[in-house]
Amino acid sequence: MSALSAKRGGAAGAVVRSARTRGLWLAVMVVVLAAICALSVAVGTRDVAWSDVLAGLSGEVDTIGQAAVAVRLPRTLLALAAGAALGLAGAVMQGVTRNPLADPGILGVNMGASLAVVVGIVWFGLSTATSYAATAVVGAGVTAAFVYGIGSLGRGGATPLKLALAGAATSVAFSSLVIAVVLPRADIAGGIRSWQVGGVGGATWHALASVLPFLAAGLAISLLSARTLNSLALGDELAAGLGEHVARGRALAALGAVLLCGATTAACGPIGFVGLVVPHVCRMLAGVDHRWLLPFSALAGAGLLVAADVVGRIAARPGEIEVGIVTALIGAPFFIWIVRRHRVREL
């Protein structure tokens, strides 16, 4: 593939933004994120008055409202962390594969992590949150390598169609295997759902703390690979000409993404489409430079997931909708929009 067409395919609708515009958008995003987080603590099956929110934040649990805040606080933080991780992972995956449809959910990576955890629990008796996270990261890594390998076999290399199909096929197979592994075990059968549809409802401080090291490592690796991703966007030959170790850089960036989405799936179950939607929106705001795009994606991903969680709690009172369902309902039309926007040849 020539460098020119690679650039067009990898960064469709490329825009270069001035530092001022970016700074402005960044400030807007931080403000919006803070507002959504405040909503997430205050709104739910039971709305909590702001005085109770403040009291709850300082650790009091005297009224029902304050107790609700105490439960919603870790939930909001988990949604924040998971959303940031998924948004960032999606941006890295789209950069590594130079594929506008890459997303940890669509490529089946989240389902692979889910399957690894389920197998670990049922067959190897895992029981600590840290071991869940480690197993999930391994599962995510193996699945990512498998799907990318399948997608790039044959003529034409890793086209978006082949990657998306390989991911969808792997997802269906792994989803069947998750059922097959969990179904005979009556004691955790109620948990099938949480390994098929992701949610942040069961968040605890402990679960959050045990995935944080993985998320931090993934965050650091991903942000550090921004320059590599910029070079890769020019095409492999040109990147190599610029002195980039193409294979090594790609593997390292992918490792960052795998750490992020593996740890997220261990804590929340598979959540799709956040990593697809967020980088596309952020490219419009921040341009195609990954040094800006990656932090933007993390922020926007966090905002999207927390907002989706709030919507899921409001829309189905007194029950709630898992955040994985909400993101799929928002994200799938977006996916179709991207498919329609690109010309077939670029897909």
């Binding site: 199909l165 269906v172 295997l177 059922i179 005979p184 369902i325 799929a328 994200g331 996916f335």
Partner: protein
Amino acid sequence: MSALDATIERLAGARGRRARRRRLVVLALLALVGSAFWLTLSLGQSYTPPGEVLRVLFGEPVPGAGFTVGELRLPRALLSVLAGASFGLGGVVFQIMLRNPLASPDIIGISWGASAAAVIAIVVLSLSGPIVAVVAIVAALAVAVLIYGLSFRNGVAGTRLILVGIGVSAMMESVIAYVLSQAPAWTLQEAMRWLTGSVNGARLADALPLLLSLVAFGGMIAARARDLDVLRLGDDTAAALGVPVGATRVLLLVAAVGLIATATAVCGPISFVAFLSGPIAARVFANDGSPLFPAALVGAVLVLVGDYAGQFLLPGRYPVGVVTGALGAPYLIYLIVRVNRSGTSL
């Protein structure tokens, strides 16, 4: 002159051999369906001797076997055959018409649309019986039109159709998950049915809508089988040969959607049966003639054997969709490896 005669004779001989081979393979497939059906009837948790099975089938009251065979196994086996044949036939019509094995209704989202509609009809609107199938058919047709419209842009490219279908599938899946999570008393069994497909809890009454749709829609397809064969040569050639291309296409698609939707309304979207049957039939027959009837038979075998394996051959008890889902994915991956840039040649 003698050379011409020899050629004609040779061609006639080859044609005769192909026809004989086809008859042989169809017979073998029929025998396979029959024996899988018989196996499901006679061997389960306990063994029922052939004589007793026959007496139950003829309606005699037999203590014990009357319940296990008549109430448990017979509905299950009948439903498997009918649903499998519907999925196989509907799937292969899609694949032939869109000239792409990946364009089967379970990959481009039509089965998921039918499943979502059936779940909504049953859980939210508390409907039951044949009306659920009608709702599923209408919804599946709407989803088919939606997918076609969304992927239309200077004509419908195979790649875009399949990708749009993947997106629509994801949406329908999350609609199903949402409705099930809001259901007052949803059970794991129900969820399994609508998410992967299953013939658990089959009742004889469920077979009736399936049979009706297979006769009606299957008849429509069979009546147009010759036109469908010609359509494989391309639209222009078909039009030149006197096939009303537009009308045939619409009629066949409606019939195929009807088959898929009815089967889905009863058994759920049994994973990958529609996708697998056509290519398997084409492989077995080496393209000797129309793959329609063989694909229906292959579909029936897949569901019968998948259900039997899920019940008795594996360490746990699994719904049939889990088995076919795990079987179909490797084949899909094999197809992906062979697919080219435009997403058509296979």
